[in-house]
Amino acid sequence: MNQAVSQSAPLLQALNLSKTLGGKRVVDGVDITCAPGEVVGLLGPNGAGKTTSLRMCYGFLRPDSGSVRIAGHDLVTEPNAARRALGVCTQDDTFDADFSVRGNLEQTARYYRPRIEHLNQRIDELLQQFGLDVYANHMPEMLSGGFRRRLMIARAVLHKPKVVFLDEPTTGLDPDARVAVWQLISNLRAEGMAVVLTTHYMDEAERLSDRLLVMQAGKVRAAGVAKTVLGDVVGEHVVVLSTTDPQAAHVTAWLLQRQLRPAVVLGQWHIALNAAGLAAFVTTFPTLRYEVRVPTLDDLFLALAMERPA
């Protein structure tokens, strides 16, 4: 993670975003900010409102309320300036199938004003940086999933935007390709871009993000560095024990008494506890066999799922 995130004014300022789609409040009063050289990870279960929030930030959806400023430009009143300062890598591959890899970059450049300076040089630079130079004249559908993603990200940063949105940039990639994309994202941060990404991969969010925004049911449930977010939502410790343990009935009664709902994963309880709770558990069950570990972002997802109304 970046230890030296710029303290200057945020390049992305999305404030109080709300959106109703199909009669349902999908996003409700969400704030997202991102500073130069910062990576903000947007997390949450399916339907939490991540993609809708992101789509409002890059202008695909009009917010019902709230405002979005990109590098100081309002997305509604100064759409051209705001869009010139943002880059988008959508969830699906949306490159132009009628153009080669290089042709895609050339064509994308035509969708920007002021025109991109020294375009050919910039394209060569990106092809090399993204490892696409050997495929420059190939059609995109001939590329592997990892290289397609590289092309998508290269296209998103072609015009040197100040804010980049990456919607699930590594979904469906093999581990090698994921690591390669992580490196590219890390490079974007080093170049001073503000990066906002959504992901389902917990390790990815932890490794890449300087700050996390955890969304649930259209609202920000927790925000901050991974450790803070985990502490807020999950707790400090996770106790893992078998649901078929002979003392399971006693544990159930103890949990009910404390109004705790553990997550059940493959026949094991994952019980999130704070320090006092763990001390009480240890004292109550001195002969029980269990494991205590630090919470992960997987526990966060499980905790959010448990909070969801049935």
């Binding site: 699906d92 994308t108 998103a156």
Partner: protein, 269 residues
């Protein structure tokens, strides 16, 4: 009013440029339909069927069927090409290729994509119409057709306007068709009724009710206007009626297209 001002925005022309660039690369295959279709139609119906028929009486004039058919084919080409491009090709780009979404991730907005598609459909239809004119000219040089050739050149702006109007109907279906399997619907609901109630292939019979429908069909006015222009050398009210109906179609349908496409593409609106 970005809905209409987007028609002259640079982004719309960037989209149009993209379509032209792709099409020019495929010029050798792109050239076949506008040349072959009218050629086959003129040979099959104009020459083949026409030889079996006595002269057609149209507007008090006795004409051979090939002469009657030629302006109709020109009008029909504009209608079909614009409709097909704005429906089938735009649908593929929007739904399967997802190139719209790629464009929308830039400074291009949905209004520009819609205008870009409409302008492209109109440009392509006009280019096809010009190809048809060249085929007709070939028939003229061969001595089978006599038309007022200079009027053909003068009619090009109107052909473009008509194509732009027809493309707005195609985009309406692009926005509303649930899937590719339903692509046959607009052919039954729009192309066949508009095509057959239009005086393109035969003079419309004077049947009450049908006459009213024909009067609001821009393709009928275009076919009749071109016929009077190319055969008699007379610009008539049909041309003005075509322009008026087309402008009304554009003013009414473009905002509807944009609203429906916004819902289709973004799930919003």
């Amino acid at each position: 009013m970005i809905t209409f001002s987007a028609a002259i925005a640079w982004q719309s022309y960037a989209i149009l440029g993209r379509h032209i660039r792709v099409h020019v690369r495929k010029w050798h295959t792109a050239l076949l339909p506008p040349v072959c279709e009218p050629l086959i139609m003129l040979l099959a119906f104009g020459v083949g069927l026409g030889r079996q028929m006595s002269a057609i009486t149209w507007d008090g004039h006795a004409l051979d069927y090939l002469t009657y058919l030629a302006p109709g084919i020109l009008a029909y080409t504009v209608f079909m090409t614009a409709f097909f491009q704005s429906l089938f090709s735009a649908y593929v780009r929007m739904h399967f290729q997802k190139s719209w979404e790629g464009q929308l991730a830039t400074q291009v907005r949905l209004e520009h994509v819609v205008w870009g598609e409409a302008l492209w459909a109109a440009s392509m239809a006009t280019a096809y119409a010009v190809m048809v004119c060249l085929v007709l000219l070939g028939f003229g040089i061969g001595g089978w057709l006599t038309l007022h050739w200079w009027w053909m050149l003068a009619s090009v702006p109107l052909l473009f306007l008509a194509a732009l109007a027809f493309s707005t109907i195609g985009l309406l279906f692009t926005a509303t068709l649930p899937s590719m399997d339903h692509m046959g619907l607009p052919f039954f609901l729009v192309i066949m009724p508009i095509g057959f109630a239009s005086s393109t292939y035969f003079p419309m019979p004077d049947i009450p009710g049908l006459s009213t429908i024909v009067q609001i069909n821009p393709l009928h006015h275009l076919a009749e206007g071109l016929r009077q222009l190319l055969i008699l050398g007379k610009p008539t009210w049909h041309l003005a009626a075509t322009a008026l109906l087309c402008v009304i179609m554009i003013l009414v349908l473009i905002p509807i297209d944009m609203r429906l496409l916004r819902r289709r593409v973004f799930g919003d609106g």
